[in-house]
């Protein structure tokens, strides 16, 4: 399904704390098919970037606001993948 589209968009993936450690990077530029959803982008990241240590369900934010996995990404979006929060 990800490969059906001919158009592609560029998304900045941000990784934090333990997830940055897992993936070995805190920022990755992803090239993804047009119409891709946030959850699909995470699946892509798991496969393409040795990030299978990422748990099946992660907290996501798009452009600095919490977002559901169903959120359709747009070109230039910033997709943040957030480990369980531990502030305070």
């Amino acid at each position: 399904m990800l490969l059906q589209s001919t158009m592609s968009i560029t998304v900045q993936a941000l990784l934090f704390a333990r997830y940055a450690e897992l993936v070995g990077a805190d920022r990755l530029t992803l090239s993804l098919p047009d119409g891709v959803r946030a959850g699909d982008a995470v699946s892509h990241l798991r496969r393409q970037h040795q990030a299978d240590g990422l748990p099946p369900r992660v907290l996501l934010a798009v452009n600095g606001r919490q977002a559901a996995p169903e959120r359709v990404l747009e070109d230039g979006d910033e997709l943040a993948i957030l480990p369980p929060l531990a502030g305070g």
Partner: protein, 151 residues
Amino acid sequence: MYLTHQPINLAVLIAQVSRADHGAIATFTGAVRDSHAGRKVSALSYSSYESMAEHECAGIVRETEAKWPVRVALMHRLGDLAIGDVAVAVSVASAHRDDAFVACRWVIDQVKARVPIWKRETYADGTVAWVDPTAPGGIVMSRPDAEASRG
């Protein structure tokens, strides 16, 4: 600005909410403890998704001031902290202590639930872990070397 890399000055925070008609001020400070998950903590570091964290903090303050007749000040520290350092401080002023206490408690609970901040603990035995309230035991050991060597 709700995030800072500098020590939190509680007097400044309290002065920020004080007003002649708000006599009751409830303040919460969370300081770095010397032990966690049964381990002796020697060093601690907070990191954040700063732009989102600032936005969430502003939202919490705005929502609190809409829910109760209060004024709210909030500050969370980032970077390397020592044992005893204040990591987070909330100060809530109101005309009456009920509102001040309830709103102060709500703010700190919301901070923990919504603000993207992470805590990395170094223990006296040299091991390192990420604090994870969802994990059994509350921490997940850090394995930067193991992960790096996989690639």
